[in-house]
């Protein structure tokens, strides 16, 4: 006998809300039953096209009336943990868009709700599901590079060349600029690949925005002893789409990972691989997905969340992992406010 489909709801109907709505409707074993958004316009537009989906202005009303099995939350960052805590208290598994919150302390109500009502959580760090970055992590974890020596990482996009408008540029709602909203992806990736960070030192600059940073440079010291940096801007010319790149050097070679490819260089034969260059491109690593809306990495992410709800393997990017990202971001902002003074993540909130 097959289990009845999981009943999914989405709160926040921006572009990612729409994407999650599509995925949680079309993937096997789940179906979209309700949407919530504070904008009547968006709800009416949806309702005029999809009459059998219940719509609500207030997510609390949705939780009461619909009692969904899972909720995807794609609202502005400042409301993530408040909404998620109420969803968990109402018995729903929660998928939360990244970043998790503005400050680590904001997650307390959610962590409390999860202690009372354990549920599956996932935070939308979907770059973990890009084939090249998965392969890069696999290579780094295999130890093929020997002891790691150097790390540099960048994330750039040509997005902002005049003052921006909207919630992303209001630190009270977004928590910060390019470091918080876009580079939470890169920080999550670095923690996922290289483990805990013991110390950060950061500098930020305002190029076009008044209230949030447009450029950030962060030095990391990892618990493993590896040191390295990230450099990030959303005002970087020539990057049509957000572009992430990681370069790491070890005793026995280097690994370069971008969205397009993974390149491994070995100084000697190691683990059955010959000395010299090895390359994996996206088509080498691609596997089809049950349904693609906006990129197969979003599907793989949703599938992992649904599997975990059904009792399969645990979610990799859960609330606790995302909270580690927040601690590093907060430490970086603290450091930048003190002109790059070293800060230990988690020591402040």
């Amino acid at each position: 006998m097959t289990a009845p489909p999981l009943r999914a709801a989405v709160v926040g109907m921006g572009k990612l809300g729409l994407l999650h709505a599509g995925l949680f409707n079309v993937l096997p074993g789940t179906r979209l039953v309700a949407l919530a958004d504070t904008s009547d316009q968006m709800l009416r537009a949806v309702q005029s096209k999809a009459a059998d989906i219940d719509t609500f202005n207030d997510y609390r009303e949705l939780l009461r009336q619909v009692r969904p099995d899972l909720v995807a939350i794609a609202t502005p960052t400042s409301s993530h943990c408040v909404i998620a805590a109420e969803c968990v208290a109402a018995g729903a598994h929660v998928f939360i868009e990244k970043p998790l919150c503005l400050r680590p302390a904001d997650a307390e109500p959610l962590l409390g709700a999860l202690r009372d009502t354990p549920r599956v959580t996932m935070v939308g760090y979907m770059t973990r599901f890009l084939e090249t970055f998965r392969k890069g992590k696999e290579l780094i974890e295999s130890g093929v590079l020997g002891r790691l020596q150097l790390l540099r990482s960048t994330m750039y996009v040509a997005q902002l060349f005049r003052a921006g408008k909207g919630w992303r540029y209001d630190p009270a709602v977004s928590g910060g600029g390019v470091l918080m909203t876009q580079n939470s992806h890169l920080i999550d990736m670095l923690l996922w690949m290289f483990g805990r960070v013991d110390l950060v030192s950061a500098h930020t600059s305002h190029l076009y925005s008044q209230d949030v940073e447009d450029h950030a440079h962060v030095f990391f010291q990892f618990a493993s002893g590896l040191r390295g940096f990230l450099d990030a801007s959303w005002s970087a010319r020539h990057y049509r789409t957000p572009t992430m790149a990681i370069h790491v050097q070890g005793e026995a070679g280097t690994v370069d990972v971008t969205d397009d490819r993974v390149a491994l260089f070995l100084t000697e034969d190691r683990q059955g691989m010959a000395a010299g260059w090895h390359e994996w491109r996206k088509p080498d690593l691609y596997r089809g997905v049950p349904f693609d809306v906006g990129g197969s990495h979003y599907t793989l992410q949703a599938v992992q969340f649904l599997d975990a709800i059904r009792g399969g393997a645990a979610v990799e990017s859960d609330v606790h992992s995302a909270l580690d990202v927040q601690r590093v971001i907060s430490a970086a902002y603290d450091s930048a406010a003190r002109r790059g003074a070293p800060v230990v993540p988690g020591a402040t909130s």
Binding site: G14, V26, Q159, D292
Partner: protein, 297 residues
């Protein structure tokens, strides 16, 4: 309903001209700089047309406007090259909607056009008018996006896969019906679709009772961007009435033209291929492989 014209067997892709390169963002950026001069695009388009390309894809990127003007001024291209607009140019909306929200992006697009007045979408209170008639607003957006192509032989207008696949995922039959009705009305062209989920798309189309669609989709020997997988795409295309315009046939440069088109030549219902060329030397090798293996070309 009139019988649709067959799709051009060789359709020139536009990605290289607009800096899109799915295998290398850096190479994409370099090409974008080179092709920022529309006359360099025209040079490649003319060479490709002379070598046998009967059509050209064109996203509704702002750079399409000067290219369309140049094509319109060249009599040979205006009459002999079918244009296949792809709408909307998604990245433009994504970047801008990050700043002002999706509804405002639409309102910005329409501002200053005569359609704004017709729809009563004056800036004040325009958000309320937005939802009074969603279809009228979407139709207005389509007309604005398609305006640069009006002077050309627009054969079919493709809906971007982001929208096709979202509507498909949500099971929104109405969206497809609206698009199928509206494109012939506003653009005098066939309504066509782009998807990354061909088997799902074809199953829905046949369930909904829609006519044989023209579909642009990834089709390649490597199975790249083919969902759920290559085998199911091969089965679906053989089992349903469909005219496929294959894109990504070289899997973003991963496959050699000869092996790539030998594979496509064996698949039924593939009536055309989209090929991206950015240099004259590419044209000869790629087109020769297409003509050798694909009977219609």
């Amino acid at each position: 309903m009139s019988v649709p014209r067959p799709v051009a067997p060789i359709v020139l892709g536009h990605n290289a001209f607009f800096g899109v390169d799915h295998l290398s963002a850096q190479r994409g950026g370099e090409r974008e700089a080179y092709f920022s001069d529309p006359s360099r695009v025209l040079e490649i388009v003319e060479a490709a047309h002379a070598a046998g390309a009967g059509g050209m894809m064109m996203s509704t990127h702002e750079r399409a406007v000067p290219i369309c003007d140049l094509i319109a001024r060249s009599g040979r291209l205006r009459d002999g090259l079918r244009i296949y607009p792809l709408l909307p140019y998604a990245q433009k909306y994504v970047t801008r909607s990050n700043e002002v929200g999706m509804i405002n992006v639409v309102l910005e697009m329409l501002s200053g056009t005569s359609l704004m007045g017709k729809l009563n979408l004056l800036w004040q209170g325009s958000k309320a008018a937005f939802t009074k008639d969603v279809n009228a607003v979407i139709s207005a957006v389509m007309q604005v996006e398609l305006k640069p192509f009006r002077q050309l032989d627009t054969h079919a207008v493709f809906l971007h896969d982001t929208l096709t696949d979202l509507a498909l995922a949500l099971g929104l039959r109405d969206v497809f019906e609206f698009y199928l009705t509206e494109i012939p009305r506003v653009a005098d062209a066939e309504a066509a679709f782009t998807t990354k989920n061909l088997p799902h798309f074809l199953a829905a189309f046949s369930e909904w009772g829609f006519p044989r669609p023209l579909v642009m989709t990834h089709f390649n020997r490597a199975g790249y961007h083919m969902n759920p997988d290559r085998v199911q795409c091969e089965q679906a295309v053989a089992a349903h009435p469909v005219s496929v315009l294959a894109m990504g046939s070289l899997a973003s440069g991963y496959l050699q033209p000869d092996e790539a088109y030998a594979y496509l030549g064996r698949i039924p219902n593939i009536d055309g291929v989209v090929v991206g060329v950015s240099r004259r030397s590419h044209i000869d090798e790629t087109f020769a492989a297409i003509k050798k293996h694909m009977s219609r070309a």
